[in-house]
Symmetry: C2
Subunit: 419 residues, 2 copies
Amino acid sequence: MSLEQEIRAIALNGKAAGLDLMKRPLKQLDEALLSMASALEEAKERILAANAIDLAAAEQRGLSGSMLERLKIKEKTFESMVAGVRQVVALENPLGKTIREWSRPNGLKIKQLRVPIGVIGIIYESRPNVTVDASVLCLKTGNAVILRGGSEAIHSNKALLAALQAGAKKAGLLETVVQLLPMTDREAIPVLCHQEDCIDLMIPRGGEGLIRTVTEHARMPVIKHFNGICHVYVHEKADLKMAEAIIINAKCQRPGVCNALETLLIDESIASLFVPQIVKALKEQQVEIRGDQRTQKWGGEEVKPATEEDWRAEYLDLILSIRVVKGIDEAIAHMEKYGSRHSDVIVTEEASVAERFLNEMDSATVYWNASTRFTDGGEFGFGAEIGISTDKLHARGPMGLAELTSYKYQIVGTGQIRP
Amino acid sequence: MSLEQEIRAIALNGKAAGLDLMKRPLKQLDEALLSMASALEEAKERILAANAIDLAAAEQRGLSGSMLERLKIKEKTFESMVAGVRQVVALENPLGKTIREWSRPNGLKIKQLRVPIGVIGIIYESRPNVTVDASVLCLKTGNAVILRGGSEAIHSNKALLAALQAGAKKAGLLETVVQLLPMTDREAIPVLCHQEDCIDLMIPRGGEGLIRTVTEHARMPVIKHFNGICHVYVHEKADLKMAEAIIINAKCQRPGVCNALETLLIDESIASLFVPQIVKALKEQQVEIRGDQRTQKWGGEEVKPATEEDWRAEYLDLILSIRVVKGIDEAIAHMEKYGSRHSDVIVTEEASVAERFLNEMDSATVYWNASTRFTDGGEFGFGAEIGISTDKLHARGPMGLAELTSYKYQIVGTGQIRP
């Protein structure tokens, strides 16, 4: 079979599995998840052995330490992966929930309710735990899944998939509710992206190159989990001690994630006071600082000059760019020009200014006096998260279970016809 | 300027206009709509004269009568177009509405509320009234619009646009809140579809060719208004008089629209009784009938043989395909295989069967004992409709004002940081 034929067969299987899933009771979906958790436990040795093969190959190919770290299924990773499956079972299911219902003057009763999307494609890179996490969240919400993991993790992913499929089968579902592309050719992605009659949604999770490839080729909807170039703006009426705590937390608590702070904007009216304070605090945390002229002036030699690229940079590291701005308008203009509208913060004690910022700044999450690090499904109380959407359609910001559903209208009549 | 540069400039203007719109009070949006209605009235002569140029050119090029009909702005069309603008002003605005709000144990207050999407691209064919209808709905919901109409209507569209822009300007908005691509080259569509950093959503409205082009090239989300291959399934326990009324209404009341009936499925247990009845009724309405063998057997010579293509056909005309099926499972299987999951009906007096159909059939709108013709924003009570989405992401079925919005999260804290 050619690559095209092989992927076509997987897509068609996915479609059939998705249609079948829609006819199953919710109870059976949860049973399948529990059965998958047990199957993973039973297959633990096989999974860890497969992971060792991937790790050995990766080491031989000279992959970096952080790549190896991401690839490795440690004892603890494995346990929390299985525990995660059981936690999803316990979550309230949005499927079948009524979003709204109303009656029309002609007596028609209209109900809008949550249904599965159908088939979801997940394209990801090295972390094998995504194989399990993403599959389980999609299945909980009645969706079939087609996975495409990175070549580095192919043995791990195949072993995980076998366990997931065994679990599905044991619970009486089609094995094909979860499928994995067995080939890791780069050309497989465009072919998968052209199966728009079978795959209803594509979620790419990975670096910029992967996301661009998917966006360019996909003919079905795509929900991206892209850059987070997050800002804190310290207004002239800020509580500077609070501002310092928020900035240090947003930058340093976990610098490698999308909701970490990348650029700090300081109001010019407090710059002479606050720049030295924050530079000192950041230096204590080993943060490299790149600032505009005024930040350099007030921050001293610790501050390297920032270039135009720094304002667009997602460092994902202990580096921070700082700019002094004039008022909220210049702050918003900077964020609109350079930011990614992921998570942006104003620190101020003045409610009217905060209100303006919350209303006018068009970011997925806008904060008044809190750290950017709360943009997270768990922190929102969603219980589970399949990613943080940087798109504006269907899902924006942290995506919980509800964001993995669509809706339909059920209309009940008594023979109504349109006049 | 090259085509690319010209379209890039329009896209950038659109983005700036969209950002500006987000900072305007809702009152100003409504003022702009009223001002646009007046400007259209003032420009009436110019608009009708421009339309006459398009009509003359279309006649010379030998366009069909129905094409000319769609292109023509009659006195009555013009009046209802302007009245339509004022009706949108009166509609409740979803912008700024709280979708949900909650507090977290750490004291953070989270509010999810409706905001504009940003910039919406509308690509359409010959009807010039779309220029006004679509612009007004997008603007009501705070979105900037970039229009791309068909070449046949370019003079009409330019005249309409001039009036819309004059109205926007008079109300203190940027003229660029509404823009029209002045060029009608086919190559303009792919170029527009690559402006994903400026255009947040593309809505193609037109034939299959147009929709495929947009789907293939667009790198931003697309919401399609595609085929409606709608079904009625007459169950063995149906009230046959009701079934006949629903079928005649769904097929004949307005055959050229997407929510018209295209395929009728009749349960085999009542076929010998119902096929002759419905064939007679359809014939009285001059409907051409194409049936499977059993329909031909019971329906007589009036029934032409149906081919495989008939089950996939969106006739948009007084033609109906009929198939005899065995029970609800075969009915659903037929609709899943051949339908477009737009609007599908079961006629039955048996509640348990109806429930199964409503739950298991995955269509945007599923009906029990009513005509498919109610799948319409107006009939749903939405007040206005920008189309009927055949997609499952973001919007499904009739799209009202709420479907032209996105959301964001506003989070209010007191200095919270993540532990």
